[in-house]
Amino acid sequence: MPSTADIQAGLAEILEEVAGVTPADATPEKSFTDDLDVDSLSMVEIATAVEDKFGVAIPDDELGNIKTVGDAISYIEKNQG
């Protein structure tokens, strides 16, 4: 099972690939839309990449509740394995 740090690093890789976010900026308190300039269509791509990397599917109604990098980390931690 990946650690919280592993999940954060994996998520940072996805954010860099999909939205050009510098990995060092992908810290838990950052808001996807307000701080990292990730739009709603990119969030859909991120959800797909999270499923590929961590085996955790994020349904659309859950995706709307994920506002920050920390929210995403917690969701992945809670729902993996």
């Binding site: 999909v18 939205a19 050009g20 269509l41 859909v44 791509e45």
Partner: protein, 413 residues
């Protein structure tokens, strides 16, 4: 109408083409007689009768940021690259024109075909949930215009004419009208295409429209030549910035040339075959000259549509003959660039503008034995090397499947 028609000028040029990654390198390669055509070597091409293509000289990945590029279809990437060059060249960004008075008109013949077909592969292989959320904005035919509008911050209207291989020229005509009707102060116009993919290649090949001279790529596109056997598919984009002359002069802009008039007609003859005597094409040229307030004697040069298809070139020769006579110097630059479909009219308008600015007419490559057709024989087609001459006005004509004909008249600044 008593209101005088506004004078419209060209203040910016941009392009990325099979001959070069910008206008200067494209023009240099054109005058040097270089060809942008090569043979496809991918496995899928083996069963194809026509295996030639005019690929971009510069990979868009070298000119556009990776993250930005992945949300843009290739046809949108090249449109943005050409638009940003034209925008920089115009200096309009520093002129303080309000965004609400800046408009964009970018045409495409096919639209985001690579995205449509690529995402169809994803759908078939991985299912609907894996289709990219950017599929629709990347495939829609107004996508290039919208992407360019965002890139230059245009809020005065963004438009996307679609008329097959006349789309780029049609965009220029729309731009002229927008300025004449005072709908905007600056208009960025142009055309784009990037559809090198097995399906469009198979479709054009099924129409018997493409050259099968696979063993001689650089000699395959041979407009007006007796041995021509079809066009070579090209990719790229070209953009032009237009403004009213008084405003351009007031801000001290460099003026490349004047866009003096435009004419648009339809053949009303057949969905894809051109009228054999080029009736509608000739009317478009005549209308454009009248719109420019000129006479045929003023026109010194025509950059012809001339795609190298057997029927298209003779129809166009007849149109040039009937509308202009035989005194004009004709160039068929697709002999080197290939056929950029929706970008063709915009790229060839840039060549027409540069011919006027530099007073030199590009040569038509591969014209070894002009067709026996009487109208082709009567044309003064520039061959072997570019010809220095004195020009004051020139025509660029473009035609598209569907019977669309557009002619544009440019004059010296």
């Amino acid at each position: 109408m008593s209101t005088p028609v506004a004078d419209v000028v060209v203040t910016g040029l941009g392009a990325t083409t099979p001959l070069g990654g910008d206008v200067a390198s494209t023009w240099d390669a054109l005058l040097a007689g270089r060809s942008g055509v090569s043979r496809i070597t991918d496995d899928w091409i083996k069963e194809y009768p026509a295996q030639l293509v005019a690929r971009l000289a510069t990979d868009p990945a070298e000119q556009i940021d990776r993250v930005r590029a992945r949300r843009l279809d290739r046809s949108q990437q090249v449109a943005v690259i050409a638009a940003e060059e034209a925008w920089r060249d115009s200096g309009a960004a520093d002129a303080g024109v309000p965004a609400e008075r800046v408009a964009v008109v970018i045409g495409t013949g096919i639209g985001g075909a690579l995205t449509l077909l690529g995402q169809d592969d994803v759908l078939e292989e991985k299912g609907p949930k894996r289709v990219s959320p950017f599929t629709i904005p990347m495939l829609m035919p107004n996508g290039p215009a919208a992407a360019v509008g965002l890139a230059i911050g245009a809020k005065g209207g963004v438009h996307a004419p679609v008329s097959a291989c006349a789309s780029g020229a049609e965009a220029i005509r729309w731009g002229l009208d927008l300025l004449r009707f005072d709908r905007a102060d600056v208009v960025l116009v142009g055309g784009t295409e990037a559809c090198v993919h097995p399906l469009p290649m198979a479709g054009f090949a099924a129409m018997r429209a493409m050259s099968t001279r696979n063993d001689e790529p650089e000699r395959a596109s041979r407009p007006f030549d007796k041995a021509r056997d079809g066009f070579v598919l090209g990719e790229g984009a070209a953009c032009i910035v237009l403004e009213r002359a008084d405003a351009a002069k007031a801000r001290g802009a460099r003026i490349h040339a004047r866009l003096a008039g435009a004419g648009a007609t339809a053949d009303g003859y057949d969905l894809v075959a051109p009228h054999p005597e080029g009736e509608g094409a000739g009317r478009a040229i005549t209308a454009a000259i009248r719109d420019a307030g000129l006479t045929t004697a003023d026109i010194g040069h025509v950059n012809a549509h001339a795609t190298s298809t057997p029927v298209g070139d003779t129809a166009e020769a007849a149109a040039i003959q009937s509308s202009l006579g035989d005194h004009v110097l004709v160039s068929a630059t697709k002999s080197q660039t290939g056929h950029l479909l929706g970008a063709a009219g915009a790229l060839e308008s840039i060549f027409t503008i540069l011919a006027l600015r530099e007073q030199i007419v590009p040569a038509t490559a591969n014209l070894e034995n002009p067709d026996d057709d009487a109208a082709v024989q009567a044309l003064d087609i520039v061959r072997h090397e570019p010809r220095r001459t004195t020009l004051t006005a020139a025509v660029n004509d473009s035609f598209g499947f569907g019977g669309h004909n557009i002619a544009l008249v440019f004059t010296t600044a």
